[in-house]
Amino acid sequence: MKNEQAIVEALLYVSGEDGVTLEQLTEVLNMPEEHVLGVIENLKKALQNEARGLMITEVAGRYQLVTKKEMATYIERLIKAPRPATLSQAALETLAVIAYKQPVSRAEIEEVRGVKSEKALSTLMSKGLIKEVGRAEGTGRAILYGVTEAFLTHFGLKSLNELPEFSDRLDESSMEETDLFYEKFQQTVLEL
């Protein structure tokens, strides 16, 4: 039992802000759901100790470790320590999606990332790492983004071809979709 609490703590830690679902925990621990819920309860209780700085929240069906409210002042102090702000994880992810998929619209970026990306886009624009490279066809004519010369210079790339290959994992999901399309397409057309 003690050990299970340690495992849940470790899983919550590595998933950080993304959190984990009850199903994921149940699956990893290979225990009935009620049992997992019990472990979570115990962990919550253990975290109530004043020597602990963290607590568990449940947001959108995901358990997540967060710092206790009282810690806010110290976190503010930590980030006040002179340390230049660099690109956030969100901005870096967005930049990566643009670099690999350009020209790409905001909607497509958000589709890949699963979250709003407006702020990240405006940061990247203001830093000159991305630019508008055109407009999508059709209604709406969404802005399409691409990376800039400054992007290549900053990361020491001669051209975009020098980006490491990542395609295998991205293509996998789109291949599935394409297969699905042809399957359905054939059915429908044959019936016409």
Partner: protein, 252 residues
């Protein structure tokens, strides 16, 4: 000596030499040039017979060894110190010296590489998390790009792909997130309802999302099959117009 090894099991000629020295149980500081050269050439020869590609580095080393062997066999010019087997040259340099130094140095790096390998394996058991987004705690600051490397961006991307991977169901139930075609058919009919004018084909594809596009297209085909809509294109490449069947018939 009977042993067969693949040449790509070695990191290069120095690695191979260290292996041979070890096999021959000789002191690295007192390499018998004639013997090691023979062993080395045997090895290369064997590789050739097996028709394996031998990197040029191995051949360069073979040449070096042969040259060294011949120099050792040359009659000594005035030995400075007639002392045992030691061959002292005018320049006071043992021809083996440079090679021995290289071998010793390489061996040390090889050991460090082993040490690093152990450290790496150990370290891989420790998992951590990306730093939390603390932007909520601070006033907006001027963002600096110094210190942001390509590696940071790739790491972020890897993390993104990983997140997507985590969120896949643990059991591989093949369950695709789909928009039901029936639902999309109803949507299209609703969009057409009560409209005198036809809808341009493009207007049905609202989101640049692959699934949405595919499902919309299939829904449209279904509707045509059921004769609930009619599609008209006046000329090649012109916008396709989608009519609600009622309206179209009403018109006619």
């Amino acid at each position: 000596m009977e042993y067969k090894v693949k040449i790509d099991a070695f990191e290069g000629p120095l690695d191979l030499l260290l292996h041979l020295i070890k096999k021959m149980e000789i002191d690295i500081y007192d390499i018998q040039v004639a013997e090691i050269t023979e062993q080395y050439l045997n090895f290369i020869h064997e590789m050739k017979e097996l028709q394996l590609d031998i990197a040029s580095e191995y051949l360069v080393m073979a040449a070096t060894l042969i040259e060294m062997k011949s120099r050792m066999l040359l009659p000594k010019p005035e030995p400075l110190m007639p002392d045992g087997d030691e061959v002292e040259w005018e320049e006071d340099i043992d021809p083996r010296e440079a090679l021995i130094q290289r071998l010793i140095e390489y061996k040390q790096y090889k050991q460090v590489a082993e040490w690093l390998k152990e450290k790496e394996e150990r370290q891989q058991l420790f998992y951590t998390k990306p730093p939390s987004d603390l932007s909520g705690y601070e006033k907006p600051r001027e963002i600096q790009l110094t210190g942001v490397s390509l590696y940071d961006m790739l790491a972020a991307f890897r993390h993104l792909l990983q997140k997507k991977q985590w969120d896949k169901p643990l059991h591989t139930k093949i369950q695709r997130q789909e928009i039901p075609i029936g639902e999309r058919m109803n949507d299209i009919l609703k969009q057409l309802k009560g409209k005198r004018e036809p809808i341009p084909f493009d207007d049905l594809f609202l989101y640049p999302n692959r699934t949405h596009i595919v499902v919309t297209f299939l829904a449209l085909l279904e509707l045509m099959k059921k004769r609930a809509v009619t599609c008209v294109q006046h000329r090649n490449f012109e916008q396709i117009l989608v009519y609600s069947a009622d309206e179209r018939f009403g018109e006619v």
